[in-house]
Structures are given as structure tokens and as C-alpha cells.
């Protein structure tokens, strides 16, 4: 199933192998429009409706015009509608952290947020971390350097959480890293290496 090519690749920067799953929803690149809450429509929206709800999500500094059922979580909108499958679905109930993304720079669980509630905010996913030249983010590099994963499924969430953990100033020592990374479970139990990776990235951030 995953090898089925999409029939209508509409993203300028390459198509997603799962775009076809979005059905009638269209993820289209368009010029970045500054959006504020006040500009977002407030009306009552019954769902499911005859016409899917039209929303605009700003993900990784790019605007995605999506047509969704209002019940769609931000996680499902990112994966199945915007076609950005780096963000993972683990428990889908806020217990594992695999779906961690940033909203306006703060880490949140995309499985516990409705996509309509993310309109007007800046969403950053794992795909948005690397620099424009393709260079890995220091936290991504630190995860590789420290072998901070085995199967890798929790890794995008771990990395998004770790980036925020360092920015928040909650990575002062091993105990604090463990406490403030506790919302990201790793069933392979790569925890010691994850702590090492966060420490390395924090040290590098301090030197920069």
C-alpha cells in the first residue's frame, strides 16, 4: 500500500507517499499568509458536513490549505492531510509523546489537539528542524552521535521534545532532563542515550 504513488502530487517540494490516503483533501503549497486568531472564522461548524471544513495550517513556515472533518486531530491533519509523516502516532491518547510537535515554539501533543484549534498558529514538525541547506539540527545530530534510538518510532517525538526541553532551560542536569523528557516513552528503553544526546546538544547550544 505504501508504494502506491499519488495520482495528483500537488506539493511543490515533492509528494508524500501517503498523500493518496487523504482522499479528497488537498495539501497545496501557497504563499505564506500571516494569520491571526482574529482573522479566523468563528461560526458554528457542524460536522461531518456535506463539505469538509476548509482550514489553513502553517506547518514548518509553509501554508497548507486543507479540507478536513472538524473532528480531525492536529496529528491526523499533519500526517494524512498535509502528508508530513515524520510525526508519529503512538497511543493517540496523550500517554506516549510520539506525536510531539511545536505550536508557536512550545512542545505539545498533536493527538490531543483538534486541527481547527491550530489555525492561526505556527506548527513545527520534525521535518521543519533541519536547516535550509539540509544540515541536521544539533539535537538530531546528537541523537545520531549518541545512538539515542533503536527502532526509531518514538524518535521524532523525542527530538521535538528535546529541542524544547533545552530552550525552556529544563536540561540543567541528568535528573532534570529525565523529569522533563518523561512525557516521551521509548519502548526500546534508549533512555540513557537520549539523556546523553540532550546533554550534548545543550552543551553545543551553549557554545554557539
Amino acid at each position: 500500500m505504501e508504494k502506491t504513488p499519488p495520482t495528483d502530487p500537488v506539493q511543490e517540494d515533492g509528494w508524500s507517499r501517503r498523500l493518496f490516503m487523504a482522499g479528497s483533501a488537498v495539501a497545496a503549497s501557497m504563499p505564506l499568509i500571516p494569520l491571526r486568531n482574529a482573522a479566523v472564522s468563528a461560526q458554528l461548524r457542524p460536522t461531518p458536513s456535506d463539505q469538509p471544513e476548509a482550514i489553513v495550517l502553517h506547518i514548518n513556515k509553509k501554508a497548507y490549505r486543507l479540507a478536513i472533518d472538524t473532528r480531525t486531530t492536529l496529528l491526523d491533519a499533519i500526517r494524512d492531510h498535509a502528508g508530513l509523516t515524520g510525526t508519529k502516532k503512538g497511543c493517540d491518547h496523550g500517554q506516549c509523546g510520539a506525536c510531539t510537535v511545536h505550536i508557536d515554539g512550545k512542545r505539545v501533543l498533536s493527538c490531543l489537539m483538534l486541527a481547527v484549534m491550530a489555525e492561526g498558529h505556527d506548527v513545527t514538525t520534525i521535518e521543519g528542524l533541519a536547516g535550509p541547506d539540509g544540515n541536521l539540527h544539533p539535537v538530531q545530530q546528537a541523537f545520531i552521535d549518541n545512538d539515542a534510538f533503536q527502532c526509531g518510532y518514538c524518535t521524532p517525538g523525542q527530538i521535538m521534545s528535546a529541542v524544547a526541553c533545552i530552550v525552556e532551560g529544563h536540561a540543567m542536569d541528568d535528573d532534570e532532563i529525565r523529569e522533563f523528557m518523561s512525557g516521551n516513552l521509548c519502548r526500546c528503553a534508549a533512555y540513557p542515550n537520549i539523556v546523553a544526546a540532550v546533554k550534548q546538544a545543550k552543551a553545543k547550544a551553549e557554545k554557539a
Binding site: 468563528a42 473532528r71 491518547h93 496523550g94 501533543l109 484549534m117 524544547a164 529525565r178 518523561s182 512525557g183
Partner: protein, 332 residues
């Protein structure tokens, strides 16, 4: 998930009228961490969601600290309050109760108002195939004869023993917090201790809020006891876990003598729980191990256990003793 309508409220008056216009079945949503979880499980099935997040900047999203105490906007996120320097210094029990709850991701999302109104994590409430008087009034309680290791030993009744799992609420009830509410009938302020209802024979009615009423602010009065305060949380794993037993304690000491003391218990009761008898026996006394043990015994004088949760009574007592000891040893 059942379908719903979604409305972005522009201000609190708009939110209240939007909810009122839909009568039953309207539900406010802020962080959504508790509600969306339960909507996915079909435990909560609101017909209409009224999104409050647009009110955060304009109305209920700030923390005010004055000589008189704290005024916390209901839309302040848990992480903001937990990291506030004056709350950490002058009301550590509040900062700790927030920091030890959930994960940082959830604390970035969850609002203070939503936190105090959170639903129980009782597994029989969460799964719709079980009988549950809270979810489906009159259907019975599967926890009475089920796996009730995590259930309440205080405040239960013949219909429900689901634990109130919140942490922040214990700090609030200990510090005599108040809750500011607006609704179709206007504005009112109630003691935090009057917000939650004992389950009795209607565990489905969890609070004293009227339909369409909105929590807007939480007030915490200042006092000499707030600086020497802490939140001790005991659980199966060290982080990102609900309490088996927790204690919020605030102490005002004159040497070793207790001028004032507040004790609240989490993970042990059906609602936020103030142990007033324990406080009473400590006031005016020297706080030593023996006094702390007497207070702990009194705190659980009315406790009732079931097959799997009897361990919570000695665990809870030990947590009270340790919390009092640690508060006494705090350098303030």
C-alpha cells in the same frame, strides 16, 4: 468520535451566550487534553464545542501577584504557572503540584481552569462497556468488586469510589483558594472547597457549576504559611504518573510550634480533600514525629478500603508524616 459543532468564542460573554444558545450538550474547551481524550473514547459526547482559547490574551490568560495573593486566569497554562518565579518562591506547593503533574507537553496545553475540572482516570469510567454510575447513572459501579487498587479510600459512597486525580486542586484547597465564575446568571465567587461535590448517589454531577457557567479566575490568598509549603507525590513510577497518595502541606511555624497548618490529600479521595481534623490537632503544638503521626492517623480516621486499595491508608499516613517533616525542614 461523535460529531459536534465548533465555535470560537470572541470573549467570555460570547462564550456564555454561545453555550446557552445550545442549551444541553454544549461544552467549553480550552487545552482539550482531558476532553479530547475522553471524546475519542466516547465517554464524553458533546454536541457543541465552544473554544475558549481566543479569550486567553484578552481576558483570562494572565497571572497577577499582589500583596493580597494570587489571581490566576483560568486560561493560564499549567507550565506558565509552574515556571513563574514568584509562585515558585512564595507558593511552592502550587508550583510543585503543577510541575509534578502530567508531562511538559500536556502542561503547555492544559489550562488551569480545565485542570481543576478534570475527569477521573477510573478505568471503569474510561471504558464504556463497563457499568459506571458516573458515566451512566444507575448502571452500577464496576470498581466496587473490580480491580480497585487505585480507587479512593476517602469520600466514597454507595455509588462511586473513583479517585479525583488532580494535583493542583490539592494545593488550592489547602491554601483556601477561591473560584471566580461567570455564567448566564452573572458573576459569583465561591470557595474552591465548594466547587466539587461528593459523589453520594449522583456521582455524575461532579461540581456545583450551573449549566453554561465558566470558571474565569482562581484566587489564592496570601498568608504566612504559603512560603513553607510543598507538594509530595507518591506514585508507581517517578514521573508522568498519577498519584497513589499525595499531600499538599503549608506550615506557619513559631520555632517548632505550629501557628497554622494546612493539609490536603490527593490520589486518595473522590474529590479534592482537606484534612481539617489533622490540622486542628497540630495547631499550637510542637511539630515532632509523634504529632505528625497523630495527625496522619486522624486524616484517615474515616477511610474505607476495598479489596485492592487498603495499602493506600498506611501509604497515605506515611506521606502525610513525610510531607510535614519536609515542610518543617524547608529553609524559608
Amino acid at each position: 468520535m461523535k460529531s459536534f459543532s465548533f465555535y470560537r468564542a470572541q470573549n467570555s460573554a460570547d462564550a456564555i451566550s454561545a453555550a446557552a444558545s445550545q442549551r444541553a450538550g454544549a461544552q467549553f474547551i480550552a487545552g482539550g487534553t482531558n476532553m479530547l481524550d475522553y471524546m475519542k473514547l466516547n465517554v464524553l459526547q458533546p454536541d457543541h464545542l465552544v473554544d475558549l482559547n481566543g479569550l486567553a490574551k484578552s481576558e483570562h490568560g494572565t497571572i497577577e501577584v499582589t500583596d493580597g495573593g494570587l489571581r490566576l486566569g483560568a486560561l493560564v497554562r499549567m507550565a506558565e504557572a509552574q515556571d513563574h518565579s514568584l509562585i515558585k518562591r512564595d507558593y511552592p506547593v502550587i508550583a510543585e503540584s503543577l510541575m509534578l503533574a502530567a508531562s511538559q507537553q500536556i502542561r503547555n496545553m492544559a489550562s488551569l481552569g480545565g485542570n481543576i475540572l478534570q475527569k477521573t482516570r477510573c478505568e471503569y469510567y474510561r471504558e464504556t462497556s463497563w457499568p459506571c454510575n458516573k458515566r451512566n447513572p444507575g448502571s452500577g459501579c464496576a470498581a466496587f468488586d473490580g480491580v480497585n487498587r487505585e480507587h479512593a479510600v476517602l469520600g466514597g459512597g454507595s455509588a462511586c469510589i473513583a479517585t479525583y486525580h488532580g494535583d493542583f486542586a490539592q494545593a488550592l484547597i489547602a491554601l483556601d483558594a477561591t473560584v471566580e465564575i461567570v455564567g448566564p446568571g452573572g458573576r459569583r465567587i465561591i470557595p474552591f472547597s465548594k466547587l466539587h461535590r461528593l459523589p453520594r448517589d449522583t456521582p455524575n454531577i461532579e461540581t456545583t457549576l450551573e449549566p453554561g457557567e465558566l470558571v474565569t479566575f482562581i484566587g489564592v490568598p496570601a498568608g504566612r504559611h504559603t512560603r513553607r509549603s510543598r507538594y509530595l507525590k507518591i506514585r508507581d513510577r517517578q514521573s508522568y504518573q498519577f498519584a497513589l497518595a499525595s499531600v499538599a502541606v503549608a506550615l506557619d511555624l513559631d520555632g517548632d510550634t505550629v501557628r497554622d497548618v494546612r493539609v490536603a490529600l490527593g490520589g486518595l479521595a473522590t474529590i479534592p480533600w482537606r484534612a481539617r481534623d489533622a490540622e486542628e490537632i497540630l495547631r499550637g503544638k510542637i511539630l515532632d514525629e509523634a504529632a505528625a503521626h497523630r495527625a496522619a492517623d486522624l486524616a484517615f480516621a474515616g477511610a474505607e478500603s476495598r479489596e485492592h486499595n487498603a495499602f493506600k491508608i498506611p501509604l497515605g499516613k506515611a506521606t502525610v508524616v513525610r510531607a510535614l517533616r519536609e515542610a518543617k525542614e524547608m529553609k524559608v
